[in-house]
C-alpha cells in the first residue's frame, strides 16, 4: 500500500535510510523497554532469538508446530474448498445471494470465539473441534469476497455473452472466473490470516497441543522470552502469507491494483 504514491519526493536511498533508522529506533525502544521493565514483562530481542534457537534445536519447536500445522492445513483447506465454490454460486445466483446474505453477515460479525466453549461441550476437546474452529474462521471471508468478485464482474461483458448465445460453461471459463480472480485472492488472503487466528485460539482453548498451547505454557511460567518465540514465528507466517498472496494477486491480475 505504501508504494502507490511514488512521486511524493523521497528517493530510494532516502527511503532506505529512513527504514534503517526506524528499524534501529524500534529495536532500541524494545531493548530500553525490556531492560527497564525487568525480565518479567518483556524480554530483550536477542533473548527471544536464543530461546527460539534452543527450542528448535531440542525438537520442542517441531513437536508443537506439528499439531497446529495439521489443524491449520485441514481446517483452512476445507474452508477454501467450501468457500470458493459457495462464493461463486452466491455471486452468480441472485436468489442464493438474497437468502444467504442475512446468515452470512450475522455470522461474520459475530465473534466466533464466543462459540468455542459451546463447540467444546458438543464435540469435545479434540482435533475435530479445532478443525471446525479454523474452518469457521476461514470460510466466511472467502465466501464473502468471492461472491463480491463474481457480482462486480462487468455487466457489459455478461450482456455480450448473452448476445452471442453463450452457454453457462464458457461464461464461467471466459468471463466470470478470470474477472473475479482478484477478489478471490483477496478472500484467500484474509481467510488464511483468519485461519491463523483460529488455529491459535483453538490451541488456547480446545486441548493442550500446538503452538498456542506453547505460548500459554511459557506465559504461565513467566518465561516471556520463551513465549515470544512462537509469537514471532506466527507473526512472520502471517506476514509471509499476506505478502505472498498479494504478490500472486498482482501477477495474476496486473490490471487491478491489489487492495488490502
Amino acid at each position: 500500500m505504501a508504494y502507490q504514491v511514488s512521486n511524493r519526493g523521497l528517493s530510494p536511498q532516502k527511503v532506505l535510510v529512513v527504514r534503517l533508522a526506524a528499524a534501529a529506533f524500534l529495536l532500541g525502544l524494545w531493548y530500553a523497554a525490556a531492560i527497564s521493565s525487568g525480565s518479567l514483562f518483556l524480554a530483550t530481542p536477542h533473548d527471544v532469538i536464543i530461546r527460539l534457537g534452543q527450542s528448535m534445536a531440542n525438537g520442542e519447536f517441531l513437536e508443537y508446530l506439528g499439531p497446529t500445522a495439521y489443524i491449520l492445513g485441514i481446517g483452512a483447506g476445507l474452508g477454501v474448498a467450501v468457500g470458493v465454490p459457495l462464493g461463486l454460486l452466491i455471486g452468480r445466483f441472485r436468489w442464493l445471494q438474497w437468502s444467504t446474505e442475512g446468515p452470512i453477515n450475522i455470522l461474520y460479525t459475530t465473534p466466533i470465539v464466543a462459540l468455542i466453549p459451546f463447540m467444546l461441550v458438543i464435540i469435545g476437546f479434540n482435533n475435530q473441534s479445532k478443525i471446525l474452529i479454523v474452518f469457521l474462521f476461514t470460510v466466511l471471508p472467502v465466501i464473502i469476497n468471492t461472491a463480491v468478485g463474481v457480482r462486480t464482474v462487468d455487466r457489459d461483458l455478461l450482456e455480450l455473452t448473452k448476445s452471442f448465445c453463450s452457454t453457462e460453461g464458457p461464461v464461467w471459463r471466459d468471463v466470470l472466473m478470470p474477472a473475479s480472480l482478484p477478489a478471490v485472492m483477496t478472500g484467500l488472503r484474509i481467510g488464511l490470516i483468519h485461519a491463523l487466528v483460529g488455529a491459535v485460539l483453538a490451541d488456547f482453548y480446545a486441548g493442550a497441543s500446538g503452538f498456542g498451547y506453547l505460548i500459554i505454557l511459557y506465559s504461565n511460567r513467566f518465561d516471556v522470552a520463551g513465549a515470544l518465540g512462537p509469537v514471532l514465528v506466527l507473526a512472520l507466517t502471517g506476514t509471509a502469507v499476506a505478502a505472498l498472496l498479494k504478490n500472486a494477486q498482482t501477477r495474476l491480475s496486473p490490471w487491478e491494483r491489489a487492495s488490502r
Binding site: 461474520y108 483468519h194 491459535v200
Partner: protein, 271 residues
C-alpha cells in the same frame, strides 16, 4: 475482520431489476434468515441429547437471565471494556493513521511494521499481556485497544494518502495553512475510510473482549459463556452469544450505512 477498500476502478454493481424483484428479495432474505433457527429447533426437538438446545430453550433462558439481572450486569461489564478500549484504539489509530498518511517519512518508517502486525494473529499476545498487566480491567482494555488500533490506523492512512492531488495543489496555490487544509480537505475526503476502519475495528474489538474475558478475571459476557457451558447449561451459555451476535450485527450495519451515506462514490468492498 480484515478489510478491503478498493478506491479505484472496480466497476459499480448495477444489478438489472425485474418487476417484483424487491418482493422476491425480501422473501428470500427472511427465508434465509429464518432457515437456520427453524432447522435448529426441529433438530433439537428430535435429538435425545440434553446438550442440544433449541432457540425456544434459549429464549426461555434469556428471560430468566434478564429477570435476575445477570445478563444486564455482564453486558454492562463487557460493554464498558468494549467502549473504553475501542475509544482508546480509535483515537490512537486516527493519530498514527493521519501521520502515516500525511507524511511520507513517517509512512516509509512505520508502514512495514503496521502491515506486518496487522497480518499477525494478535490473539497470540494475549497470554503475555495478561502476565504483564494482570487479570484486571486495564489488561482487558489494553487488549481491546490493540485489536481496534490497527484497522483504524491502516484505513485512515489509506484515506489520507488517497486525498486527490489536485485539491492539495489547489490548497497550496492559495497559500492554505497546513491546519486549514487538514480541516477542509484531508479530513473530509478521508472520512469514509476512517469509518471503514472503525467498522472493521468493531468486529476485532468484540473478539478481543471475549478473548480477554476468557483469559482474565471473572466478569462480563465471556465469563458468563464459560460458566454456563462448564455446567453444561447450554441454553444459558448461548444467551450471551446471541447478545454478541445482535450487537455485532447492529454496529456493523450502522457503520456500513453511514459509510454509504458519507461516500456513495467510493466503492468499499465488504469483508
Amino acid at each position: 475482520m480484515t478489510s478491503t477498500i478498493s478506491n479505484q476502478s472496480t466497476p459499480k454493481i448495477v444489478p438489472r431489476r425485474k418487476l417484483g424483484d424487491s418482493r422476491n428479495e425480501k422473501f428470500f432474505w427472511w427465508g434465509g434468515l429464518l432457515f437456520i433457527p427453524v432447522v435448529w429447533q426441529i433438530y433439537s426437538f428430535y435429538s435425545d441429547s440434553t446438550l442440544i438446545v433449541g432457540p425456544i430453550d434459549v429464549g426461555i433462558a434469556s428471560i430468566g437471565m434478564i429477570q435476575d439481572g445477570t445478563l444486564l450486569r455482564a453486558a454492562g461489564e463487557s460493554g464498558f471494556v468494549f467502549v473504553t478500549g475501542m475509544l482508546a484504539g480509535i483515537l490512537l489509530g486516527l493519530l498514527i493513521g493521519l501521520l502515516v498518511g500525511r507524511f511520507r517519512t513517517v509512512d516509509v518508517a512505520l508502514d512495514p511494521y503496521i502491515s506486518a502486525i496487522y497480518a499477525t494473529p494478535l490473539v497470540a499476545l494475549v497470554p503475555l499481556l495478561v502476565v504483564a498487566l494482570g487479570f484486571g480491567f486495564s489488561a482487558k482494555v489494553v487488549i481491546v485497544m490493540i485489536f481496534a488500533f490497527f484497522p483504524v490506523a491502516i484505513n485512515t492512512a489509506a484515506g489520507v494518502r488517497g486525498v486527490p492531488v489536485d485539491l492539495e495543489e489547489l490548497a497550496k496555490m492559495y497559500c492554505s495553512k497546513e491546519l486549514q487544509s487538514w480541516r477542509d480537505i484531508v479530513l473530509p475526503s478521508s472520512l469514509p475510510f476512517i469509518v471503514t476502519g472503525m467498522r472493521l475495528a468493531v468486529g476485532r474489538a468484540l473478539i478481543a473482549v471475549i478473548v480477554a474475558e476468557f483469559s482474565t478475571a471473572v466478569t462480563g459476557l465471556g465469563f458468563l459463556i464459560l460458566r454456563h457451558s462448564r455446567r453444561f447449561e447450554m441454553a444459558e451459555s448461548l444467551v450471551p452469544v446471541i447478545v454478541l451476535m445482535i450487537t455485532g450485527f447492529a454496529l456493523y450495519t450502522l457503520l456500513k450505512r453511514s459509510e454509504e451515506r458519507l461516500a456513495s462514490w467510493v466503492t468499499v468492498a465488504p469483508a
